[in-house]
Amino acid sequence: MDELKKRAKELLESGIVKVVIGYEEGTGNRTRALFAEKAEDAAKLIFDSRCIMNLATYITKREIKEKGRMGIVATIPVMRSIIQLASEYQVKDSDLLVIGITPESKIMEFKDLTEVETYIHQFQIEIDARNREMLEKLGKMTPSERWKFWIDELAPCFKCYACRAACPMCYCHRCTVDFNQPQWIPVPSHELGNLEWHIMRAVHLTGRCIDCDACANACPLAIPLNLLNKKMLEDAKTHFGGYQPSLKGDHLMSTFKPDDKENFIH
């Protein structure tokens, strides 16, 4: 990835960007976010299969935004997040320069977000085989079996909100879970508090989640909470022909079709 280092160095030297958000070697064979501000920091940049964290999470973060225009090393999921964020007015061209990484791990430059949008639209959001299998398995269960499954899976959750913090789409300053007049979601991490928090999370990400798995990867207790988002993704396909992040801002859940199905309404 010398090309990446080189490009990042140029961008920082030329002042085109003030900071490059990328990946660096972490501890214990992990990789982590790097915020390169000086040209020499660029040397620390790496990219390999371990670099799966969704860096888009950082572009809405105040301390990083304040540094000035950001360059961001962006794989396809990251690019999708960026476009979704742009469609929600959280980021614009002047804030951001996308240093794309293609599925073949090639560097790819983009003039602006419109180009990024066009690029990612070639790829459909596809759920991986393992999770698809899991969805099918759950689909075959009876509702009460699923209920047992989820109550049991969510039991360990102690509401550290790592899933929320790691999600690029969870940029709200005050999450509904912190809304206390009225207290919609119980604060304690008892069964109800956990259940309703995860339902709410799934609802709020419906039509916005781009399936990057950041939430599940962040969970310190390995709760398969991304299954909820994946199910919503599947259902969006089934009922509305799916969605793609789009600068047009025609959001799945803020629009409707007069002929949306209603065989369940009687």
């Binding site: 009460s144 699923r146 499954f149 069964e191 609802v203 259902d235 969006a236 949306d260 309404i265 009687h266």
Partner: protein, 149 residues
Amino acid sequence: MAEFEPKIVSFVCNWCTYAGADLTGTSRIKYASNVRIIRFPCTGRIDYMLLLKAFDEGADGIIVSGCHPNDCHYTSGNFHARRRWIMFRELCDFIGIDIRRIRFSWVSAAEGAKWANVVNTTVTAIRELGPYTDYKKVANHPVKEVTHG
């Protein structure tokens, strides 16, 4: 013990279903007394969280009802609501919430008889399903002593 009397909460829009239920009254059509109506301006206003809250607080069933498509007083509130319901139902079902306990319906201001029928059929259905103990257990009021991981 006495027969189980389901508690059913109903979220309806002011312009169609609420008025429809008024018509049921003025037409003196009798129906089961298990249902309590909460009035909203539009189905578009009905927050999915309210449905969960109703179950938390011990409802055994829920009715959500508003204007037929194209009759919405606000032109498209019910269309927005319908799209949310589609996804919310899927999510509930996936989590194992018993969606047979949530009845969605369109009842216009002219359908007094339909409202009575919606209530009666829902009450019968919920009576067969019995109390929603699964959710009540999870809701645990009063809070149990401790929750460990």
